[in-house]
């Protein structure tokens, strides 16, 4: 077990280092001369060169990368010249609200997708299963923004019971303080995520249902419900844990779009605005953070699976 954890840790560190190389190269390749980017097109070539020299942008690529890595290791993600703020501060300002939106939606999605998938597996090929399969298929085939627009049309424009824009409050806990204003973004994100997970959960549950131990449990005299809750649920959820780890990039992408559509001030909106400003330090700073988050999520998921599955504990 310890060996497994160590090995996963080592590969995670390697992957994170790889990510830092890629973001560095992108930063370097995209913003070209940082001096030009900051001083603007009117600045003279000499001024740009002087700026680059002063900030070390004229050194060899490797030297620059090592400097960048050193910076990262100290927790410094760079500086946004466009907003004249450190990237750290920008991300920190918005992280709480995004974490809250993404977290609440994820928890809701798992709470819906797991029972839904198990139900569909047990009642496979019934009318209910077919209806649900079709619904999840539609949601799965729908870009996030389209679902958002549909919900806005129905609840904001049609029924007029919910605001079409998210709360602009800077409070981290706005979901709980202004639930009405946050319902549509949460619903959108949850809906898309449910579509993603329930299909998977259904097939994972089907796999488990076909296992011999399920039949043995039935032969012991357990009712189907007891078989599901005592035997199947845990084993059918282990693959989902891995899937959640792997789909963090998709969840963050969904979050980005939802924040842009509902104008919810979080990391996604920051990223969207930075795109339009070509503010690469911010873009790559968030990308790096998101990648590290993904690596950590995968690591965590693998560890959770390892801990809850006795078969992996022998190593």
């Amino acid at each position: 077990m310890t060996q497994y954890v160590l090995r996963r840790l080592v590969t995670s560190v390697i992957v994170v280092l790889g990510v830092s190389v890629i973001t560095f190269m992108l930063l370097h390749g995209m913003s070209g001369s940082p001096g030009r980017a900051i001083l603007g097109v009117q600045a003279s070539a000499e001024a740009v060169a002087a700026f680059d020299r002063e900030h070390g942008y004229d050194r060899s690529l490797i030297a620059q990368y090592l400097a960048y890595l050193g910076q990262l290791l100290q927790g410094d993600l760079g500086h946004s010249y466009k907003l004249n703020q450190s990237v750290n501060a920008l991300l920190a300002d918005n992280a709480g609200r995004t974490a809250m939106l993404a977290g609440v939606s994820l928890v809701l999605a798992v709470c819906v997708a797991v029972p839904l998938g198990v139900f569909q597996a047990v009642k496979r090929n019934s009318v209910g299963d077919n209806v649900l399969t079709t619904l999840t298929f539609v949601a799965y085939s729908m870009p996030v923004f389209l679902l958002a627009m549909l919900l806005i049309q129905v609840f904001a424009l049609g029924l007029g019971i919910l605001p079409a824009q998210a709360s602009q409050s800077s409070s981290t806990f706005v979901i709980f303080t202004e639930p009405r204003a946050m319902l549509l973004p949460v619903l959108t994100l949850t809906g898309i995520t449910v579509a993603l997970y329930s299909r998977y959960q259904r097939s994972a549950a089907l796999d488990q249902l076909a296992q011999d131990y399920i039949r043995v449990a039935r032969a012991k005299g357990l009712s189907m419900r007891m078989v599901l809750t005592r035997h199947l649920l845990r084993n059918a959820c282990l693959p989902l844990v891995t899937l959640i780890g792997m789909t963090i990039p998709l969840l963050l992408a969904g979050n980005l779009v939802v924040e842009s559509v509902f104008n919810y001030p979080g990391l996604g909106l920051l990223f969207f605005n930075s795109l339009n400003n070509q503010d690469y330090p911010v873009l790559l700073g968030y990308t790096l953070v998101a990648s590290v988050l993904t690596v950590l999520g995968n690591l965590l998921a693998d560890l959770v699976v390892a801990v809850s599955d006795p078969r992996t504990q022998r190593a």
Binding site: R7, R124, A219, G221, L222, R311
Partner: protein
């Protein structure tokens, strides 16, 4: 003496009666009657054997009784009564009170039958809490008692284990403990030992038998193995293609069967006493497709006694003698005489003078346990550790051993699919380890292989024509027309029609596919064919067809075989020289008669004793040869003699000193410090 219950106690009434049971399964477009008109009676304290080949409906009968049919399955007709209470149509809620409580079931594969993420203790305690209303503490205590009852050492420790920490034999004991925890009236054991090694099989069956007597329950023992039936069942029902063909007491059925299928099934079951000179009996053809069942008797197409009437009218079950039921228009009388049925072409005697065609010298294969290990002292598994033997032209070298003893790895090394860690293989004078590239490919012509899983060994996307053409193309032999002619000839030799060329492997039955594989192995006219479990995936009636074919081709093509099998009866039939492997080592080598009749290694003797003979009168194996516990982990083989942990004769010396192969007669040698006979020092080992 047979271990069956002597004189079934006269108990009024049957505990379980099944009458006219028909079960069908809905498929996408059609419905298949997997069980049709089955009658069973089970008295308390007795074991009823239900025997049949795969697809005969024997497992479906068991599942019907449990009310656990797969999706789409339902009971179409008939009744199942437990103590007079009708179970067919019983509401699910009430059925749950019967399952695991009054009727329990043990399934075939213990490796997958336990929930991998729950402890043994939890799983055994579950039915106790459910049915007996025990408190968690009481259930735990009872579970502990049950584990002790089924002979699990250190049960308290095992309670906290997870299934993967237990060997197959132990898991099956856990399954039995679970099934018996509520003292059911009826136990259905569905192929309870098929997935286990033969030495473990005997132990598990004895356990089931003893517990049945102790708890006074009735047991329905479902199996394909006539040997198991002969030794353990009081009465037998024989099933074929979903229907019941014959039912009688075990003694009567084996000595005076009336149904041609029963007769044929018994005749083609290989025995240790099988005479190698005569061909095995085999049933022609294969079982009918149940989606389109024949109108009359389902066995008619394969029956030697069938008439027009058999094909038109299905015979009903009759009772020609009390307790003996039968469904046949033209019954036979008793077993087939073991008349000499000579092999279609008599095998040439192996040339004793010729030098060996195949030599394995000190073969060792080690696998690392993990690819990336942080510790340097990563443990290596010794799959094969130092095996040497030589095979003369025209001989068959049979290699037997339990699963995990390294016999398949050895086979792959012999045909140069894997490189030995050390040691060498020399075939027809060429050292395989020294040949490279083109030379090795050319040399491979002489050395072909047959695999166990014929579906895996034939490319699913190729027609049989392309599959058989491949060896010629790979070796660049002949023009397209010549290749085609050769392929047709090959099909003739293995007894397949030329129309097979246009078909895909999945369209054939297992036996037919193994014929295709044999034809492919023959294509390059090799001198040596290595066959890894060539018939273990086949039903017994088809198995004998393939074995007979292999033997005939050996004679006509002057082939040398290396046949690897876990089944001692198969090796007995086909091999001239037999090697017995245990945990990567050859522990005994000798002529077939030496090994089977005059075994000197306690392991060999134990293996042979564990095989159930298909003869109810067969003597029980003499005591003292029972092999204890189970195979130790190959990761960490015992010191000294690897077999000592299971050996009844082991002494201190066995742990300290590894035995070497000693001679016990011409060509007969074994590695044991305390052999069953004294070695003959005059004869050199070898």
């Amino acid at each position: 003496m047979a271990a069956r219950t002597e004189g079934v106690p006269v108990v009024p009434g049957d505990v379980l009666t099944v009458e006219g049971l028909s079960t069908s399964i809905r498929l996408r477009k059609s419905a298949v009657d997997v069980v049709k008109g089955v009658d069973l009676r089970l008295r308390p304290g007795e074991t009823l054997g239900l025997v049949g080949e795969s697809g005969s409906g024997k497992s479906m009968t068991g599942l019907s009784i449990m009310g656990l049919l797969p999706p789409g399955g339902h009971i179409a007709a008939g009744s199942i009564k437990l103590d007079g209470r009708e179970l067919v149509g019983l509401p699910e809620r009430q059925y749950q009170k019967v399952r695991g409580n009054e009727i329990a079931m043990v399934f075939q594969d213990p490796m997958t039958s336990l929930n991998p993420t729950k402890t043994i203790g939890e799983q055994v305690a579950e039915p106790i809490r459910l049915h007996l209303g025990a408190t968690p503490k009481q259930a735990r205590e009872r579970a502990l008692d049950m584990l002790a009852l089924v002979g699990i050492a250190r049960p308290a420790e095992r309670m906290g284990n997870y299934p993967h920490q237990l060997s197959g034999g132990l898991r099956q004991r856990v399954m039995i403990a679970m099934a018996l925890s509520c003292e059911p009236k009826v136990l259905i054991a569905d192929e309870p030992t098929t997935a286990l090694d033969v030495t473990v099989q005997a132990q598990v069956l004895r356990l089931l038998h003893d517990l049945k007597d102790r708890l006074g329950m009735a047991m329905l023992l479902i199996t394909h193995d006539m040997g198991v039936i002969a030794r353990w069942a009081d009465r037998v029902s024989v099933m074929y293609a979903g229907g019941m063909v014959e039912s009688a007491t075990t003694d009567r059925l084996f000595a005076g069967m009336r149904h041609p299928y029963t007769q044929a099934l018994l005749a083609c079951t290989p025995r240790l006493t099988q005479r190698r000179e005569s061909a095995l009996f085999s049933i022609p053809g294969s079982p009918p497709d149940l989606e389109h069942p024949p109108a009359g008797c389902r066995f008619a197409a394969r029956c030697a006694h069938a008439t027009d009437r058999c094909e038109r009218e299905a015979p009903a079950l009759t009772e020609p003698a009390p307790g003996h039921t039968l469904a046949c228009w033209h019954p036979v009388e008793g077993p087939l005489e073991p008349a000499a049925r000579p092999v279609e072409a008599a095998p040439k005697a192996a040339d004793d003078q010729a030098g060996p065609v195949l030599v394995a010298d000190g073969l060792v294969k080690e696998y690392g346990t993990g690819r990336l290990s942080l510790r340097r002292s990563a443990r290596a598994v010794n799959a094969v550790s130092g095996v040497s033997f030589a095979v003369r032209p025209g001989q068959t070298f049979g290699l037997v051993g339990e699963s995990g003893c390294g016999k398949s790895t050895l086979a792959r090394m012999i045909v140069a699919l894997e490189k030995p860690t050390s040691g060498s293989v020399t075939a027809l004078g060429g050292a395989l380890g020294e040949l490279r590239g083109r030379d090795l490919r050319r040399h491979r012509r002489n050395l072909q292989m047959m695999f166990q899983d014929s579906l895996d060994a034939l490319d699913p996307r190729m027609r049989v024509g392309a599959i058989l053409r491949e060896p010629f193309e790979a070796q660049g032999i002949g023009t397209a027309a010549e290749q085609l002619a050769a392929i047709r000839e090959l099909l003739d030799e293995v007894g397949l029609p030329h129309s097979a060329l246009e078909r895909y492997p999945h369209e054939f039955s297992g036996g037919q596919r193994q014929r295709i594989a044999l034809a492919r192995a023959l294509a390059l006219n090799p001198r040596v064919i290595v066959a890894d479990e060539p018939v273990s995936a086949l039903d017994v009636s088809v198995r004998s067809q393939v074995l007979n074919l292999m033997k005939r081709l050996q004679a006509t093509h002057d082939l040398t075989y290396v046949v690897i099998s876990h089944d001692l009866t198969v090796v007995r039939y086909i091999a001239d020289i037999v090697g017995v492997m245990y945990l990567g080592k050859l522990v005994e080598v000798g002529s077939a008669d030496d090994v089977y009749l005059r075994a000197v290694h306690p392991y060999t003797a134990g293996l042979i004793a564990a095989i159930p003979e298909p003869d109810p009168g067969a003597a029980e194996p003499a005591g003292g040869l029972d092999i204890g516990s189970e195979l130790p982990s190959p990761l960490d083989p015992p010191s000294g003699c690897r077999f000592r942990t299971r050996c009844p004769r082991a002494q201190a010396r066995c742990a300290e000193e590894e035995p070497v192969l000693l001679g016990f007669g011409p060509g007969h040698s074994a590695a044991c410090h305390f052999p069953l006979r004294e070695p003959q020092p005059a004869v050199p080992a070898g």
